[in-house]
Symmetry: C2
């Protein structure tokens, strides 16, 4: 193994070290007045109470899944390392959520206090705290990957173990192929087969991250909107008190919600994409046909390690980028945005330079370089499109505000139309990105290399996640700082400064959401391709000779066409008896009704899952509304500010609501791919995943953008347009915003997870699916 | 050719004859008082003015497309009969729209007059008038099919012409295969090749029907909602006058809209599905491999004619069903519904008996019989699910009404959630239907037979269209009769009776919409399969030897797997040079980025198309609102009923708005498949169609059902629930209803067309796509 691999654990530890440094330096700042501390303490306690409860539920689910996976491993339909890998993926993702929340809730009062000194100080505290989240995510994800690779490569699949067959773990593929080990040394073919086994096993640890992300996103999304709606409907509308007013019992829950949804939820989402894209690309690298690798001048190790190395370099450059973010005291909104852009843009540019270096060293091809360029560009374009369709500086959102003059119905219709229309740029970008990366890296003649390129587009888009996530996570911190300043009744100047930071955060959050869904699409794409490798591997293990489509090169999956071309002539022997069972299950064409049925079911899953999460918000919010009304009614003097509301009660209700409501949609997302796999085979699963990906992506973009546009249209009216606050247009705008809340903060982001999780579940269940297909 | 074929022209002429009889008998009824006549005259003039203008636009589009198709034929990328077939399909569909509208507008006052005598009389007039629409649609569609089959089979592809090669028409496939004619007689192989050529050519006449349907649905959808919103927002809400009040200038336009959208639009939509499903199934029948046909004991002629024969029998049984619909004088709502169900159910049952007869005669297999059963059952299930999710007798709609108490935002959220959730039954039904028909008719071992079965499921679902369309079209007639009664100030008892008929119409309309989208999905499915036959044919004509994947049986499309099985062993020779060009274009697998890109674009098309149609309604309605306001302002005495409003002006505005707004979305729907075909080849097209079908279907069900549920939730509140008319819940309900209007009457139904039209365009452009792929 090359020494360059050690860049991977090094970079991940470096990320964690800098996260620690940033955390410590943030903690050195004062939390300000006792009142500020008190409020921060409430939010912190609420957030931790939520996390504690969520992790309890998640632990139960993990234990159940662990047992199931272990049983499957016992029956040889699962690799024995998978249950443990599953746990490690879930554990590290959960740890990141915990650390990110901890940091964010420590940072809000400090940011408010910093802003009371200067805008720059406020930005520094908030942004560096966001960077903690960004760095722990990339750090732990890459550390987990590096550790597993070292364990499997250097401890499990040693020449010794392989020579002895490793029977006890069911890893008997080596035993079945004595030619893999020659004189105690692994042959070239054995080396490659080993790497396929390792990467495909590692891939499944992504399911732990996925499951964790599911609960974080769905639970967080429900929590934050239940609290928000409760605080707004009763506090703002019925009682007429302003936002973030301490007299509102739901106000702490609302502030907790920002952390739960936008920090922990977003972090877990991107943790999953980050780990998933690297692992999938490594698996695709290991599966490159020998001839293709030779043509590209790569070794199997290089093809597997390259995505990890790119990620490692990305971490180092992200840290540099984070240091580049600073601004003058007299900074305008534009200056602030430019400061952030300098950081993210700078590190992206540096990545490209580093990639050229890797090409020169012969670690990746020029085609892969271009795939990375395409991935980075796609991220920027989708972000910009999101900005265009949701910012009040452009026509679409202004148009919604204008329609608000005619009442709520036209506001809704126009917002839905804007959201649906806005899908075109992201979809076309993803399509061009997928096709561009494919053609650049390999094209039809080097099909497997092209698919590997698609994986690299995802890795490229996410390579600077350390800093992009920092720009995302800083938003809710600034938002909470504003809340803190408001409740602690600080000088209005402080609120103005935190508002400036918050607005900046809204912009980065919008682009961040586009980035999250874009990376989810590319990651899912890579995962689906890797899924077929997993199926191939299991088929290889389980099927007896004569089953399936036997070719001299292996089993006919249609992406075998290219190696066959290289052979010039291929003879396909088909036994009619075996085809009866397999043609339908393995024929991934449109004419296979199982595949087409899967496509339909995938599209439906996106809609039904959205419906479930929206309904969940409605129910959880209903409970919150009642509680806030109860407190206003029963606690005397609450509205005069003479009595302290029972904040914890509201936090509790939102927490309980979120936990209860997240279960059903989550279980559906986990169970449906398993059921489809068991009943409709591989073809049905691939259809389900492709349908879920394409419909889910489009639906998510629509919901995110419609929600964002409604939100900003309302704010645009509040700035004094079309009658300003309190006018008829404003009332209509509030209706739009309320409808948009679950769109953009619950259902839309949850779809990212659905897309990836269904794929991950399918990957992990591939052994079962193949076994059942062969019965 | 068997004598049984003559059942086809006979049944179609019979349908037209009965349509004439029903029309004449309807016309014998009196139109009632002079005031009733006057109002009916207004509506009739408005409807005809609309149609006239629409046909002008459509004619221009047809002329342009005709020229383009002729140029393509000249350059040998189009069959020379296609331009004329295209025109005939468009002409007959347009004629049906004209006749249906004419009948409906003649019938409304007569229905009102009938209802003033008795409920049964009203039902008879309205239903028999609806039956005129149903029968002209099936009559002309089948007549066109029969005529083309006779022309092509008995005039063009005669043994003489085939022996002489038919060079002048570019139909040189026979010339290239002299073995097709032996001693002046067509050989068995030649007979089959001939039928493929004929059916695939005929298939393209569906594009004329599709184009016509596009403009009818989109234009009609925009018209009806622009008029409706204009009438409601200004008349009902601002001026406070009741529905259908003659003082409202938009009231005539509103009544015209019911005819334009629900009669002409629905008719053209189902005309397209009906013709498309029969033609696609015939093409699939002709393409059945010889071995498969032999196994099934069918001749090529039988396989081609069977769908037409089933349709012919369906017509005869529909006519019988129509006569079965009658009710007692004291009929309740339930009696009325049962009367209709007796008609539709009775004819469906008779179809099954007739199918058994066909099996006995050896014309179809038992598998096909079951496919027809499945198709009929799927139609019923989707209709019932629609009923459940949109009727105020069930939980979902009641839940929306309950949410309305908390204001418009929760009403919208809940409606959207209900709509999204409601997609599951129709999707699962279609999936089970497709898989069931496939397995019943052929399964993996007889793949082509299975696909033929899917086509028959569509034919089965639509076989009794003559009567199901009658139950659909009678709704708007009853609705208009109510309007007429209201404006003519008849006895309230008359209005009560027409209201009973109207409510019945709403139920059948809801199930009708489910039926329309369900049949669109199955038809599109059959069309996509037939598309591949079209591609194969063109490939055969254009490609030189050595291009593509040459197998001994032809070209490798993946559905070739089964015939290969029958051969036992297959040798695939691949020339690397040719694969470079084709593997990507013809490799319809998920790993082909062109296919996956197409899937994404298909999903996007559904959303963007919906956005465009919704925006169009908004703009057209805005113009209408202004016009109604202007009339109230400028025409003195209009509100006191002393001055007559300028009805024609409103009709004019709605018409102009609809015509202007329908062009852009329509052009997008036509152009995108061509562009995708030219740039992304066959794989891209198939992806686009599959993505459009699955996402479009799900989106359409969601929009239809959300719209229907909002509408009925509002009506439920108006019945006195949750505060009744004028309360806060009612206001929120009105907002939901207004949002739902373009959902259920414009965008949702237009998606049916999008799904089918994109496929039809692809079928017609297959020659161009293949040619460009080979450049």
């Amino acid at each position: 193994m090359s020494n360059i691999f050690f860049l991977v654990p090094f970079a991940s530890l470096l990320a964690l070290a800098f996260a620690w440094v940033f955390f410590k330096s943030m903690m050195k700042n004062s939390e300000g007045t006792p009142r500020m501390k008190e409020i921060a303490q409430y939010v912190r306690e609420g957030a931790m109470a939520y996390l504690k409860r969520q992790y309890k539920v998640v632990t139960i689910v993990f234990v159940i899944l662990f047992i199931l996976l272990t049983i499957m491993a016992y029956f040889n339909v699962q690799n024995p390392f998978v249950p443990i890998a599953f746990l490690s993926g879930g554990f590290f993702s959960g740890l990141c959520g915990f650390l990110g929340m901890k940091t964010a809730t420590f940072a809000s009062a400090r940011t408010a206090h910093g802003a009371s000194q200067s805008l720059n100080k406020g930005l520094q505290v908030a942004f560096r705290s966001g960077a903690v989240m960004g760095l722990v995510v990339v750090g732990f994800a890459l550390l987990d990957i590096a550790a597993w690779f070292l364990i499997l490569n250097d401890l499990v699949y040693t020449p010794d173990n392989m020579a002895n067959g490793l029977h006890f773990l069911g890893l008997d593929f080596v035993h079945a192929h004595p030619e893999y080990v020659v004189n105690g040394v692994i042959s070239e073919v054995g080396e490659k087969a080993k790497l396929v086994e390792i990467t495909v096993t590692m891939l499944t640890f992504g399911m732990g991250a996925s499951t964790q992300a599911l609960f974080a996103r769905v639970g967080g999304g429900i929590y934050t909107k239940a609290a928000d709606v409760g605080a707004d409907l009763v506090g703002k509308v019925e009682a007429g008190i302003p936002e973030d007013d301490p007299r509102n019992p739901a106000t702490i829950a609302d502030n907790v919600g920002d952390n739960v949804g936008d920090v922990a939820g977003m972090g877990a989402d991107l943790y999953e994409s980050y780990a998933g894209s690297i692992l999938a690309t490594a698996a695709l690298g290991a599966s490159l046909p020998a001839l293709v690798m030779k043509d590209a001048g790569l070794t199997a190790y290089q093809a597997v390690l390259a995505p990890m190395v790119v990620a490692a370099i990305g971490i180092i450059l992200s840290i540099i980028g984070i240091f580049m973010v600073r601004t003058k005291e007299s900074a305008t909104q534009k200056n602030l945005l430019n400061a952030l852009l300098l950081g993210t843009g700078g590190s992206s540019l540096l990545i490209l330079i580093a990639m050229i270096g890797l090409v020169m060293l012969g670690w990746v091809t020029w085609g892969v370089f271009w795939a990375v360029v395409i991935g980075l560009a796609a991220g920027v374009i989708i972000g910009q499109a999101t900005e265009y369709y949701t910012s009040d500086e452009y026509k679409p959102t202004k148009g919604i505000a204008k329609q608000a003059q005619q009442g709520p119905a036209t506001t809704i219709i126009d917002g839905i139309a804007v959201g649906m229309y806005s899908t075109w740029i992201p979809v076309v970008t993803i399509v061009l990105g997928i096709m561009g990366a494919f053609w650049a890296a390999g094209g039809a003649q080097h099909f497997a290399m092209g698919v590997y390129g698609i994986g690299f587009a995802a890795v490229g888009m996410l390579s600077t996640l350390g800093i992009t996530l920092a720009t995302d996570a800083f938003g809710p911190i600034a938002d909470n700082a504003g809340g803190n300043a408001e409740m602690a009744e600080l000088d209005p100047q402080v609120r103005e400064r935190t508002d400036a930071l918050d607005m900046l955060g809204n912009t980065t959050a919008a682009t961040g959401k586009g980035f999250a869904i874009g990376s989810a699409a590319l990651t899912a794409m890579a995962l689906i391709s890797a899924y077929m490798e997993e199926v191939r591997l299991w088929f290889d293990k389980i099927a007896k000779t004569g089953e399936g489509f036997v070719t001299k090169g292996g089993y006919v999956f249609y992406n075998d066409v290219v190696p066959a071309v290289e052979e010039g002539v291929r003879t396909v022997k088909i036994s009619a008896a075996s085809v009866k069972d397999f043609s339908a299950a393995y024929d991934i064409t449109l004419f296979n009704p199982l595949f087409l049925g899967g496509l339909f079911l995938g599209a439906m899953m996106a809609f039904v899952f959205s419906a479930m999460t929206m309904k969940a918000v409605g129910r959880a919010a209903g409970a919150m509304v009642e509680e806030v009304r109860r407190q206003f009614r029963e606690i005397k003097g609450i509205l005069e500010g003479k009595a302290v509301p029972e904040y914890a009660k509201c936090v509790e209700i939102s927490t309980r609501g979120a936990q209860r409501e997240m279960l059903l949609p989550s279980l559906v997302a986990i169970i449906v791919p398993v059921v489809v796999g068991a009943t409709m085979g591989v073809a049905g699963v691939v259809g389900l995943l492709a349908g879920g990906l394409t419909s889910g992506f489009t639906l998510a973009v629509y919901m995110n953008n419609a929600g964002g546009a409604w939100d900003n249209a309302k704010k645009f009216i509040e700035k004094g347009n079309y009658g300003g606050k309190g006018g008829e247009a404003h009332k209509a705008g509030v209706v739009g915003d309320t409808v948009g809340d679950p769109f953009k903060d619950t259902s839309g982001p949850s779809l990212n997870i659905l897309i990836k999780l269904m794929t991950m579940v399918s990957v992990v269940m591939a052994g079962l699916t193949v076994t059942l297909s062969l019965l």
